[in-house]
């Protein structure tokens, strides 16, 4: 009933759009963090993504959207039971909102009070993390999220599994989701541990060219006047992008990643001094997803270079004496490594 603004009608903000598309193609990348001042279309863009997501096969009636085709260990206790193959149905990849002010019982799940009160049954009522399994979990103003909710998220995001031990319940279920967060960095920073969970991060600004601004204003005004007509007008573009994401998803495994690309990623991370392997891994996976999105069979250096700032921006160690922005530091190292005969 709530009509979202079409993704394809969002003017400029290419970094943000690309990062979200990549996350839609390869959910394993680890999510997207969108930081920017107010009025940059952060939430609009993320909500618009929901309309573009393809359908996936799920076990009918499963609260966790288990994949009927996947091997048993990764499934919930019900679907994981040996036996005949369960019925499957198609479901649009869910985008679940985690609103501020959520209480822990609704996030991780808790005792189903209704069934407990009425039937005296001890039953588990799955929470938002269950609904987000195999989909997206969106946290607006992620930097304002309460600490105990962040703790719950961190734990689950790391293990891909939600373990609930409360009120005499003992439940574990799969919870693999693409975490998407947005916020205004002026209002306080993200806890470093949480920031590290995001695969890609983008910095959005309001465009300052008059022509772009006029275009934004006019499109938005048209949308506000008649949402249905506006969506209809953009339906073809939306459909084209949806198909593109769908085919990129299925082509992802076939995209070739040359060995020297892995090496390049490693050298880039080394030169920037990013901690851990996560950066390298995400760098290669993102380059591959980008190649798939472009319909290419091989991920190239160009893909890697163009996605590198988004992958590495939030992983740089703070250098107190370097006042330049994280983006320009990544760009500079890329230039040093590849453009000045460094190779």
């Amino acid at each position: 009933m709530n009509i979202a603004y079409p993704f394809t009608a969002i003017v400029s903000q290419d970094d943000m759009k690309r990062a979200l598309k990549i996350a839609a193609v390869d959910p394993g990348i680890g999510g997207v963090l969108v930081l920017g001042e107010r009025g940059t279309g952060k939430s609009t863009t993320i909500r618009a993504l929901a309309a573009l997501l393809p359908k996936i096969d799920v076990v009918s009636g499963c609260a966790y959207h288990c994949d009927p085709h996947s091997p048993r260990p990764g499934l919930c206790s019900q679907c994981g039971k040996p036996g005949e193959t369960p019925d499957s149905s198609a479901l649009t990849i869910p985008v679940v909102d985690l609103p501020l002010g959520s209480t822990e019982d609704r996030v991780v799940g808790a005792l189903d009070i209704e069934r407990a009160l009425v039937n005296g049954e001890k039953a588990f009522q799955p929470g938002l993390l269950a609904q987000a399994n195999r989909g997206f979990l969106y946290v607006d103003e992620v930097n304002l999220l309460e600490d105990h909710i962040v703790d719950a998220l961190l734990d689950v995001a790391a293990s891909g599994e939600n373990v609930v031990e409360r009120e005499g319940l003992s439940v574990r279920h799969p919870a693999r989701f693409v975490l998407v967060g947005s916020g205004n960095p002026e209002e306080g920073e993200l806890r470093p541990q949480l920031q590290d969970r995001f695969g890609l991060s983008v910095d959005v600004r309001t465009p300052s060219e008059v022509a772009t601004r006029v275009e934004i204003i006019q499109l938005r005004e048209a949308f506000d006047r008649d949402r249905n007509a506006f969506r209809k007008k953009w339906a073809r573009k939306e459909g084209a992008l949806r198909r593109k994401i769908q085919s990129a998803r299925s082509a992802l495994d076939q995209v070739d990643t040359p060995a020297n690309l892995l090496e390049t990623a490693a050298r880039l991370c080394l030169a920037l001094g990013t901690d851990g392997l996560r950066g390298e891994l995400t760098l290669v996976r993102s380059a591959r997803a980008l190649a798939a999105l472009e319909g290419k069979e091989t991920a190239t250096l160009a893909h890697l270079k163009s996605i590198a700032p988004s992958v590495l921006r939030h992983r740089l160690r703070r250098d107190p004496l370097d006042e330049s922005s994280a983006d320009s530091r990544v760009q500079r190292v890329i230039a040093e490594l590849f453009d000045h005969g460094g190779d």
């Binding site: 709530n2 009025g39 929470g127 209002e187 806890r191 309001t206 204003i217 703070r318």
Partner: protein, 589 residues
């Protein structure tokens, strides 16, 4: 609609009332900056009358999140024996006009929920066992009574299309009514037909950019307001008058800088005086395009409008010197609830009814059987409202509050010539590392730098690392060492912090070579003497601190300072920022 020659102040207020009654949720609402008083009450009554609502609901700033969003209705839950959701205030006010009282005091979470409601007309709830989304197409009148630098949160004001400042309006400014409820209804029927040209749209967009308005929301609101204004005039086309009105009500209040105007604006008058309603000046020549012509016409309007703004801002500043009576309220938080624990309510604490019920719920059938073993009608599924809930003391849960005393770390950085040259970069580095540390502990940070004649509070207490980093980056070095001034400023801040219930700790990075006295003259002896006096005064206060000697060779001067401050002294010649950071951490723990 009656045309009258009222003062522009009231005319704008009356138009704003009519426009919000007409446009409602589509422009978000009104940011009403005004002290409480008859003018505001009268204006609100006008809004209520024009919108045809019987009364305006109010959201108090202190409203708990559960009431704002809704949660579980305990009375109904107990009555029906199953969870019943309670409607939140926002949902009750769907499609209505709501007043947010004392919007400048709204907690950040409430601001977020209001923003979500204004953005999408819906909110999602996931709390206390209730999970759903509901429609909340509210129109918000945010009453901002802030003085000084207290303002309603910018995330909220950005979404409120209209802005009205009544701080300079007195009851004598109130004039006749212009609109009636019928005018609004007539305009509502007309507004769909109203045309705004491409050139007008572009001109408003360009203008908002030149006023430094980054977000597109105010511009979108301005377009709607211009069309609404035309509809209220009974016209099908937006004219310059409407554009000027949109400019005054939507864009100018959000202006962050003056646009480039070639001719110099007229001399500002010292007192705001009622002026004639500003008619768009007729332009006789024919400039190249409609858009340029419009822009120019609006530009010629600007100095007047901005002047009004600046004057009211000045008036606001004048009023604000009275002091901050409300500063204490904000810190009367009892901490935030962080879940529930099984516990005995007799030992104090608030019973968490929901958690208690949840704990008791699974045992009900068993307990009922125990309680009335022969009662034949005790069937668990009959749904009789008479059924009691058996609660044992074992079930009782207590809400756990986390009372976090706010803490503030103040950095006092010597940026004078003697200290700066080699050490300023080191000091900056150390502060940045400490900032990250402060962030982890959720401390606030503030930054004072001192050089030449004065000490300056470069960064008022904040939690934003981004801002701290920026302030630090902009810190220049060189000049004399006004130590006494820096310590006096530190003491000011310490006092303010303790009034707000904040614990403050300061870190002074200096070589201790004070050479400016309190009266601002350069004199090493007087400078040192004043510095030590100031240090002792600071030491008498509640805050604690440490002195980091940044001199190349440790000097007795800084040690003496630390002793007067009764603080910890750390000499760190040749230390890099990492070592410095470790030392500070060690001293603190």
């Amino acid at each position: 609609m009656v045309e009258t020659d009222t003062t522009p102040l009231w005319t704008d207020a009356e138009w704003a009332a009519a426009l919000i009654a007409l446009l409602g949720h589509s422009v978000g609402g009104v940011h009403l900056r005004s002290p409480p008083g008859p003018v505001r009450d009268y204006w609100l009554e006008r809004v209520r009358h024009l919108s045809g609502q019987s009364h305006l609901r109010k959201v108090p700033a202190s409203i708990p999140e559960g009431r704002l969003l809704g949660g579980i209705d305990l009375a109904a839950t107990l009555k029906h024996g199953r969870p019943v959701a309670e409607t939140g205030l926002l949902e009750e006010c769907d499609r209505q006009m709501v007043i947010a009282a004392m919007a400048e005091r709204l907690p950040r979470n409430s601001v977020h929920h209001l923003c979500t409601a204004l953005d999408s007309g819906r909110i999602a709830i996931a709390r206390d066992g209730v999970e759903r989304a509901c429609s909340v197409r509210v129109t918000l009148i945010a009453q901002d009574e802030g003085t000084e630098e207290e303002f309603a949160h910018s995330a909220l004001t950005d979404r409120l299309g209209l802005a009205l400042d009544m701080t300079v309006m007195g009851i004598h400014d109130v004039e006749d009514e212009i609109f009636t409820h019928t005018d609004i209804k007539r305009a509502l029927a007309r507004i769909e037909r109203v045309v705004i040209t491409q050139a007008q749209q572009s001109a408003l967009t360009a203008l908002s950019l030149s006023l430094g308005i980054g977000s597109p929301r105010p511009t979108l609101a301005a377009l709607k307001v211009a069309r609404g204004s035309a509809a209220l005039r009974g016209d099908d086309a937006v004219t310059e008058e409407d554009i000027a009105r949109a400019l005054r009500l939507c864009l100018l209040p959000k202006a962050e800088r003056l646009p480039d105007i070639s001719e110099t604006p007229p001399e500002p008058e010292s007192e705001p005086e009622p002026r004639e309603d500003s008619e768009p000046p007729p332009t006789s020549e024919q400039p190249p395009s409609e858009e340029d012509r419009l822009l120019e016409a609006m530009m010629t309007q600007l100095p007047e409008g901005l002047l009004e703004q600046l004057q009211s801002r000045a008036a606001r500043l004048r009023q604000s010197t009275a002091g901050s009576a409300g500063a204490q309220h904000r810190h009367q938080q009892r901490g935030r609830p962080t879940g529930a624990l099984r516990g005995d309510h007799r030992r104090g604490g608030r019973v968490n009814i929901l958690a208690t019920l949840r704990a008791a719920a699974p045992w009900q059938p068993i307990r009922r059987r125990q309680e009335a073993p022969d009662s034949s009608e005790e069937t668990p599924r009959d749904g009789q409202p008479l059924r009691k809930i058996e609660i044992r003391s074992d079930d009782i849960h207590i809400t756990r509050f986390q009372q976090r005393r706010e803490s503030l770390t103040l950095f006092v950085v010597d940026a004078s010539g003697s200290a700066a040259m080699q050490r300023l970069a080191e000091a900056k580095g150390a502060v940045e590392l400490l900032l990250a540390d402060c962030y982890v502990r959720r401390d606030q940070v503030a930054l004072i730098a001192f050089r030449n004649e004065t000490a300056e509070l470069l960064l008022p207490p904040t939690r934003s690392l981004v801002r701290a980093k920026r302030a630090l980056a902009a810190l220049p070095g060189g000049g004399a060492t006004p130590m006494a001034a820096a310590l006096d400023l530190t003491r000011d801040l310490a006092e303010r912090a303790s009034k707000q219930g904040t614990t403050m700790q300061y870190v002074i990075l200096t070589d201790g070579a004070a050479n400016v006295s309190r009266d601002g003259t350069r004199n090493r002896e007087a400078g040192t003497r004043d510095a030590l006096t100031a240090a002792r005064a600071l030491a008498a206060g509640p805050s604690s601190g440490l002195v980091i000697d940044t001199a190349q060779r440790p000097q007795p001067r800084a040690r003496e300072l630390a002793e007067s401050l009764r603080g910890t002294y750390i000499a760190l010649p040749k230390a890099d920022s990492q070592t410095l950071n470790r030392a500070i951490r060690a001293a603190r723990s």
